[in-house]
């Protein structure tokens, strides 16, 4: 039986071998380069995706572990927000809008994983404290989310801004 995923709302039959980590299926087979290869060890968070709405690392676990699951990559965040708010189309998820307004990225390589974990956090805790945010990015997953460029301070501010934007129902246009 072929492995099937729902990726960013679209059904996909996987042709890669079942032992292939999800990351290589997303990047190599499906062309979604938002999730990044950072370590292949679940130690940095650059490869994070939402699997059935929970932030998961995609660089180690084989795609067969995700059979039948709904996967959202950072590319799928705007559509996920549009669907949740019953909007026809949005260019950016409020988290992305907040990331731009706070000018978060430096090199930008790790930020896909950061925005995914922000989506996971705000999905369960719409008004997180600074301490909640720090916990979500530091100790809640298999490892801390790592940024080498030193954007943690900007990420904290952006998550708080995103929480406000989402509460206001923003994000329908940019």
């Amino acid at each position: 039986m072929a492995i099937e995923l729902v990726v960013n709302g679209k059904k996909e039959k996987v042709t890669s071998s079942p032992d292939t980590p999800l990351l290589y299926v997303l990047r190599g087979e499906l062309g979604l380069t938002g999730p990044k290869f950072g370590c292949g060890l679940e130690q940095c968070g650059a490869c994070s995706v939402l699997a059935n709405d929970a932030s998961r690392r995609s660089c180690v676990k084989p795609v067969s572990d995700f059979d039948g699951q709904s996967i959202t990559t950072v590319e799928g965040l705007p559509a996920a927000w549009a669907k949740a708010k019953k909007l026809r189309h949005v260019d950016l998820h409020p988290i992305q809008q907040a990331w731009i307004e706070e000018q978060v990225p430096q090199c930008g390589y790790c930020q896909n994983g950061m925005m995914i974990t922000a989506a996971n956090l705000l999905g369960t805790n719409p008004d997180p404290s600074v301490s909640d945010i720090m916990t979500a990015f530091s100790t809640s997953g298999p490892s801390a989310h790592l940024c080498r460029c030193g954007t943690y301070d900007a990420i904290i501010k952006a998550v708080q801004r995103a929480a406000k934007l989402m509460a206001e129902g923003a994000g329908d246009e940019h």
């Binding site: 071998s17 032992d19 190599g28 499906l30 370590c39 990015f137 490892s143 460029c149 301070d153």
Partner: protein, 776 residues
Amino acid sequence: MSIKEGPGTLSRRGLLKAGGALVVMSAAVPVALRASVAQAAATGMPFPTPVLTDLSTWLTVQANGSVTWRTGHVELGQGNRTALAQMVAEELDVAFDAVTLVMGDTSITPDQGVTAASSTIARAGVQARLIAAEARATLLSLASKRLRVPASELTVEDGVVRVRQDPKDHGSKGHGSKGHGSKGDSSKKVSYGQLVHGKALTAVTPIVINGQSTTVGATPKPFTEYKLVGKSIPRVDIVDKVSQKTTFVQDVTVPHMLHARVIHPKGIGSTVVSVGELPAGSNAQVVRLGNLVAVVAKQEWDAIKGAANLPVTWSDWNGLPTTENWPATMRATPANVMTHASQGDFDGAFGSAANAMQTTYQTPFENHGMIGPSCAVADVRSDGRVTVWSATQYPQGLRNGIAQMLNASVEQVEVLWFDGAGCYGRLCSNYDDAASEAVFLSRELGKPVRVQWSRQDEHIWEPHGPGTLHDMAAGFDESGNIVAWKHEAFMAPNNDSTLLGPILVGVQMSSTRMPVGSWTGPDLYQFPNLLELVHQMPELGAGTSPYPFGIRTTFLRSPGQYQITFAQESFVDEIAARIGQDPLEFRLRHLVDPRAIAVLQAAAKAGKWESRPSPKPDASTSNGTVTGQGISLVLRDGTYAAGVVKLQVTPATGQVLLTEVTVAQDQGQIINPRAIEHQISSCIIQTASRVLHEEVKFDTANVTSTDWSSYPLLRMDETPTINTVLVPNPQIAPSGVGEPAVNVMPSAISSAVFDATGVRLRTIPFTPDVVKAALG
């Protein structure tokens, strides 16, 4: 145009097949320009080398008035794409949005040197400003002919040239405007686009470039007329990075590309004894070129699996002294001793001083720690022409290196720069190991090859930040005046430029630089009898390795300065503490430079510095949690930075947690305040990571810190509150902002721990285990 189409593959429409040559259109490059490169490829013409003194090398004005500006520098995530565009648009008098920068395409961008050492604005930006001023003068000269009005009577706004409407002229008719009949005629106008519409521009006064000096006929604007420079214009790269439109080098794929994983030597000096076979059923193939062993496959996962399962036997090599023993080994190794500064008579003054202090500081080997491990794509074609996709800090340098290692001419090679993970010097002297491996594999296989290093590859084989030792000695009188100062440093090299590809393959490179340790930066304090020496160490293990390197060490953000300033500023603090003076007051007493004094006072004020001696009266090594403050100062890359660190120490666990960090900085003219504030923030957080957590460990064979578990970084829950103060100085040329704030962190943290506990930490990193042991 978009270069992405379909599954992560560069658009077919963007690929021009020409005589078997493959030319990939880079997103930022105007179609017209890339087409000319494609034509060159089709007819077997060499890849061109842009001429710096041609105005048309630097800019193209399109018919719609948009300006394409080409720079040899590249965006490393620090905002220079935006800041350079601000400087250019300002000087040209066009809207900010009208300027698009093209970076790092060796066939069309001018060689402005390596993007490193906080130099983009100070050097490449100031050079671009001069050339943009000349371009404006050239455009005005064209407009003058078209409008039949002297250039001196023309004005430009948003790329439209008009006759100047000077209110004074209305009251002074006939004064200087007689005979033109056009003065003040605002209906006479012409846009840059109408003047040029894509044709090449020739400067009215020839551009003269002599080393680092650029001379043009035009005079840049006075800063008082700036409209764009000094504004916090949002960074132009951020929307794309957030919405996943940026193509990182790791995302580049080209048709028929193969994926390679290189299996690097077991020990730093190990060579191949034998290579076994891949397991039956593997979809990969093995390539061995001397000591370069790689597993290659169409699917990346097949290459990774193959590399994990390929038996390779390496020779034993045990030439390293181990983490515990490197300081002793370094002291025992003969080295050239360079005198950085010498004034007065240190020995005499030290011998007769009323008080004396001597101590040693140590900094560890460190990683640049790119979050995305090295990656590059190379296509070496049958006609000998080469295209390389790389995140290098110096595309032209990589181009020259690849030509040399393949025994090709420079004109046969083009390097296309793409965004990469923040590299902080990892790709500035070592221009790109992965690219150097990819070209040999591509040549061997006759197909484009993508080399992606593993996390372990990057941790072990990146050229590290060098470990250093600092022997300090000072003599001072009863009131704390320093009368003698000596700083004797032992520094592993800061400039390793070896590339693994040719060395593993066995290709002789003609000019391998001899690595040397470095000193850096001028002295701010006025010490009458001063001696500063550096032992320029060879690389550890280099003497017994079959390769031209030992444990490779090269520039890491603020190289040399970081280590020197840690020792110098910590030692200043120790002397202040010995004589019971406030560390701020003590520093101010030894300073005369008004800019240094100003940033120190600004940091102290914004950081709510408590004026008193350290340690604080209730300093303790046993209480639950104790707090402290530390202050530090540096002059780096022409920029003055001062920092105040407030932190808490938990003696029972050894944890040091920064609570608030304030940095005041004077970088001369400010190009983009918000981008600078983010750079300061970046320096604070990254350096807190280096100081509190990071150390590359090694045994006798190789590095043993192989991943983020054995080489941890600072986590978000250790982020302090950050305050930044930008001290304005618009009349002074802009200087670097990517490095200065790095240097105030290590000593300020050490001094704040001392303030809290009365215990001085002199060896970085200050990990919980180290701190707990020190306080115990």
